[in-house]
Symmetry: C2
Subunit: 202 residues, 2 copies
Amino acid sequence: MSGGGPIDFYFEFSSPYGYIASRLVDEFGERVGRQITWRPMLLGPVWKITGQAPLVEIPMKGDYSRRDFARSARLHQVPYRHPGKFPIGTVAALRTFYWVGDRDPAQARTFAKAAYTAYFADGRDISAAPTVVEIARECGVDGAALATALEDPALKERAKREVETAIAAGVFGSPYFVVDQEPFWGVDRMPMMEQWIRTGGW
Amino acid sequence: MSGGGPIDFYFEFSSPYGYIASRLVDEFGERVGRQITWRPMLLGPVWKITGQAPLVEIPMKGDYSRRDFARSARLHQVPYRHPGKFPIGTVAALRTFYWVGDRDPAQARTFAKAAYTAYFADGRDISAAPTVVEIARECGVDGAALATALEDPALKERAKREVETAIAAGVFGSPYFVVDQEPFWGVDRMPMMEQWIRTGGW
């Protein structure tokens, strides 16, 4: 079981279930003896392919989802205040993650957790690039260099490729995990994934 | 915990996850000390409201779903052969369930399980009314009386009201459970529902 390949952890910064997963995934990785590769992506381009829409905009499902975001957060003891502006565009956070990660992967994970907490617990609007830079700075990132990088077409291209790679891997939701070529969609499938890893699948 | 109100178990006869739930729900009810009220409904009218489509027809999600139907069935040790014709219209099975249930609720549950098994394990096309009548007959139902009833506008109206009631209750998927006014969507949320019942919620 341990010593196996890493778990790809795909997530969108505007996803409540991705946020909850971000709070669980480190301990999960330790428990099953796997590294976690954090891979933020965007759901907007996915929805163009699938014809889907944000959960909260879907009749009936929207009401259930709003209730379930909060209920799931309480279950996992994760602080949660449903953001006033939701969902949001998260391309600034996405680009920041990959720019930081190319320099310091551990710092990028720290930033991802901080950005999620800022949005889903502290009510900060992470769709705004200056807010993202501020959060990154709070994580020890060079804010001036980041602000410059965020204007660089090369970084935009870099982040876009990551989204394309996720889509090519079949990622259509958040969180979405792939381990040993097996996909698991949703924070509520983490127990199934754990069983899969422990047993070698069925 | 025990002695609480019943669990409403909503399902659509063409739903693989509803089928899996139908195999788990009796033992579930015993474990948590609750009665189960079986409430078949139709997803077609729901999709008209939500703008959704059958899972397998959604790009990306379709591939995942086909894989997950079989994987979830194996996990729960439920026989599963993905039907050649899928999804199907299940109004004949729906009407049969309520007609039988008005006379003998236990027999209606037996019929529901038999219809699900016929479709998802034995490859029988339960969209055809004669096949449904045959399955009901195998469960001890008076086939001639049922065949006549299936042509009766009163039964059509009866079944339609059940679907409307489900939609009014917020049911947008299958399986969908409501216990103590709390909704749980999906066979993969049965553990959460169990925890909810045992703890009184959180």
